[in-house]
Symmetry: C2
Subunit: 140 residues, 2 copies
C-alpha cells in the first residue's frame, strides 16, 4: 500500500467520521480509551476536542501527554491511528472556535466556563490499515 | 447511576457489539488502539481475541501487559471501558475454541499456525457511561 493512498484515505476518515477514539495513559500506567466527538482538525497533524477540565482524563494528560487518536470504519475494515501528544488548554480563541450548539449541556457557564477545556492533539506518526494491509508514516 | 445497572448494561455491550477497541502501550510509552473482532468473553472479567504472533502489538504486550478494552454504542452514547492486563498465549485449547470460519485468511496454516496467538484480557476495573453519567467499579 502506498503512503499517499494511506494518507488520502486517512484524511477521508478524519473528515467524515463523527466519533474519534482518544487513547491516553492513566496515573497507574494503564491505557485508557474514550469516544469523543470529532470536532475540528487540520490535516492529519492537529486535532482538537473539547472536554471537562475537572475530568480524570485531563489530570492524567497533564501528568502524561502521550496519546493517540483512532478512527475506524468497521463497515469496510478501514482504520487510522495517529500517535502523538495532547496539550490541555483554555485558550479563549480555541474555546470560541470549538463551541457548538449543545455545548451548554457540558459547560453551563458558556465559553468562559472554567470547566471547559480544549485538548490539542499533535500527531507525530500514523498507521493506516485496510483489510489485511497497513502502512506506517511520519507526520510533519 | 447504580453499579448493578452499569454492570448489566456493560454486559449487554460486550454481548452485542461486533467490535471491541483494544488499548495497549507501545515500546515508546505511547497508547495504541486497535479495533478487534469481539469473539469470546466470560462476564466482564475475561475477554479473548485472536491475533498474529508476528504483529507489533504482540511484542509490545509482551513488554507491557497493561491494556484496556473499550465498547461503545455511539447511537445511544453508551460506553464501557475495562482496564486490566493481557497475556499472549498459544494454548491449543484456546486456539481451537476461538477458531472460526475465515480465520484461515489470517492464519493460513490453521489452528497450529505459529503465527496464530490468543490475547487473554483479564479486567481489574471498569467504567460505564451513559450520556453524562458514569460510574467506576472493581471487577473480581
Amino acid at each position: 500500500m502506498e503512503k499517499e493512498y494511506a494518507i488520502e484515505k486517512g484524511l477521508e476518515l478524519v473528515k467524515n467520521l463523527k466519533i474519534a477514539l482518544v487513547g491516553s495513559i492513566d496515573n497507574e500506567g494503564f491505557p485508557n480509551i474514550k469516544a469523543m466527538m470529532n470536532l475540528e482538525s487540520e490535516g492529519l497533524r492537529k486535532i482538537w476536542f473539547s472536554t471537562n477540565t475537572s475530568s480524570k482524563r485531563v489530570s492524567y494528560l497533564k501528568n502524561n501527554p502521550k496519546a493517540c487518536v483512532y478512527y475506524v470504519n468497521s463497515d469496510n475494515f478501514m482504520g487510522l491511528m495517529l500517535v502523538g501528544k495532547i496539550e490541555v488548554t483554555q485558550d479563549d480563541e480555541l474555546r470560541k472556535k470549538l463551541w457548538a450548539d449543545g455545548c451548554e449541556v457540558y459547560y453551563p457557564l458558556g465559553i468562559t466556563d472554567p470547566d471547559y477545556s480544549i485538548l490539542c492533539f499533535t500527531a507525530e506518526k500514523g498507521n493506516f490499515y485496510q483489510g489485511l494491509k497497513n502502512v506506517d508514516f511520519e507526520i510533519e
